[in-house]
Symmetry: C2
């Protein structure tokens, strides 16, 4: 399978590394909106101008679009699905239905296949929610995120006057996890599920008390949470907070029996050293699946829910049944 | 969807209860090899003789075969797949390829669809192994079972002279779980992964020391494990060990990055009050999927690897994308 990367940030670099781990995947190049000669890839693969991508149509089985969900993907994915089979990691949950419709129209009209919202949430966490709810209909599921860096919350802090740099960790609260795992199906408030840990580098002479208040009272982002703010130096930020770890838990508990007398707990969890590299690895597996599906004549927009798991694996059906079932 | 149950033991009773939790499922009856008038169902659904099942062909969308893997299913599933869409929970891992071939031949020839080896292992654990290995090819996975009752090991103890009743729990060893979760990819021996807890009711006057030795030295079942043997009374057995809990863990750790510099841990775990009721609940969800696939013209033998997750849920694609992705 020949793939290419469209957009070369953290996610694109992750796809580049993940491709090397999959012998059936050949990465033909990176397409960037920057001047190609200014972009140096990690493994030395060629860099092309995004504007020239149409000339490479016949060399690419699946194009992996590594853009941001806020402004890039809503435009890029429908346009690129006219000429390519594409995968993206669109993760603005509320806008998935409209993104799906736009991509589906483009892909179905051109006979291509597109898979949107692959990764871990949406992605593997979504699959965990679906499987668990299908098996235990009389139950309740909970998603916890972290401990991990939230880029959106880090950015929100950086926009506060006097803040030079910031890193925000979302942290699930152990007592909430335990309450969920007990099967008691608790109603949990936002504050009871997660806390927010903020590390901030202030500009010289900045009013730290004012920054702390601005963070803790920020609506939507922090006001509904217990939030800690720790001021650190730029050196400490670089030394202790350069990585992008993340992860979380999807837990569903449910009842079975004649009168709901038995309780079951299904738990799926991820602990990721690098959020973008794990997401990239998932994108490659789903690219493999849509390449196979397209060769079987399938087109239009798909999500992880539409992919038979066997299509994700390089192993044959016989091998999977013999060794993994 | 109209379903029927073939075989009315623990699993069949579980399917009967699970059907009630799914409004789109109608259970039309139970088929038994016993005299139907001697079988009383938990919810009052009709009981028919297994021999008469052909007369009910047109009333059943999917037949859920609730037999044992040792002798029942290898015979039943291929025969019943000639007249019905079927689901089974065949769980003898080593014989899955031959069972698949026999069932596939029958189902493909008759235009039916069959799904074998649904449940949790094989089943949800298999899916967890497949997803995790597809995403993290440079890694290693581990499956732990328990804490839970192993019926096979309990039966093996019951066959020892002087034993009146026995219950065996398979217990994962916490130090092994921790070593796996650390990402160090340890090589673990059988003895390091699980221990075996045995509760035994001895016959009056039996030689307990001899029973304990017979258990601990039994090849395949116990000799390779650290095993504890506790003698209890028949009353204690009834009071403390009547349930059939089970569960376990599938954990894969893997590396990503240019030089494998980042480690990730994917963990799926189940904690089940009732092993047969959870398996039954999974059988219903997979029955829904094959009913839909058959109506789309699919036939032949399938496994959980071949089922697009969306087909397991009563929700529509739109609903799933809006609320679960």
């Amino acid at each position: 399978m020949k793939i290419a990367i469209y957009g070369y940030g953290n996610l694109g670099r992750g796809v580049e590394c993940a491709a090397k781990q999959n012998p059936d995947v050949e990465l033909i190049g990176v397409f960037t909106r920057r001047a190609p000669e200014t972009v140096k890839t990690r493994t030395g693969i060629p860099v092309y101008a995004a504007a020239d991508i149409a000339a490479h149509k016949d060399e690419i089985d699946v194009l992996i679009i590594c853009g941001g969900s806020a402004t890039d993907l809503p435009k890029m994915t429908p346009v690129l699905a006219k000429d390519f089979n594409v995968v993206d990691s669109f993760d603005t949950h509320a806008n998935i239905p409209s993104h799906f419709d736009a991509v589906n129209e483009a892909a179905a009209a051109s006979g291509h296949i597109a898979l949107i919202s692959a990764g871990w949430d949406p992605g593997m966490f979504s699959l965990s929610r679906l499987y668990a709810s299908a098996i235990l209909p009389d139950g309740k599921d909970y998603t916890f995120w972290g401990r991990g860096v939230s880029q959106g919350h880090s950015d929100a802090i950086r926009r506060i006057p006097g803040v030079k740099d910031a890193r925000q960790y979302t942290v699930p609260i152990p007592a909430a996890l335990d309450a969920v795992r007990s099967g008691s199906m608790p109603e949990l408030t936002t504050r009871e599920k997660h806390l927010r840990e903020c590390y901030v580098v202030a500009e010289e002479g900045a009013d730290k008390a004012a920054i702390e208040t601005a963070i803790k009272t920020m609506p939507n982002y922090f006001a509904d949470y217990d939030t800690t703010v720790t001021f650190i130096t730029a050196e400490e930020m670089q030394r202790d907070h350069a990585a992008l770890p993340h992860g979380g838990f999807v837990i569903r508990t449910g009842k079975t029996g004649l009168d709901g007398e038995h309780t079951h707990t299904i738990e799926y969890s991820l602990k990721l050293d690098s959020n973008p590299e794990f997401t990239s690895s998932a994108l490659i597996a789903f690219a493999r699946a849509i390449d196979r599906m397209h060769k079987r004549g399938v087109n239009g927009c798909k999500t992880v829910f539409d992919i038979a798991p066997a299509d994700l694996s390089p192993l044959s059906g016989e091998e999977l049944r013999a060794h993994m079932l």
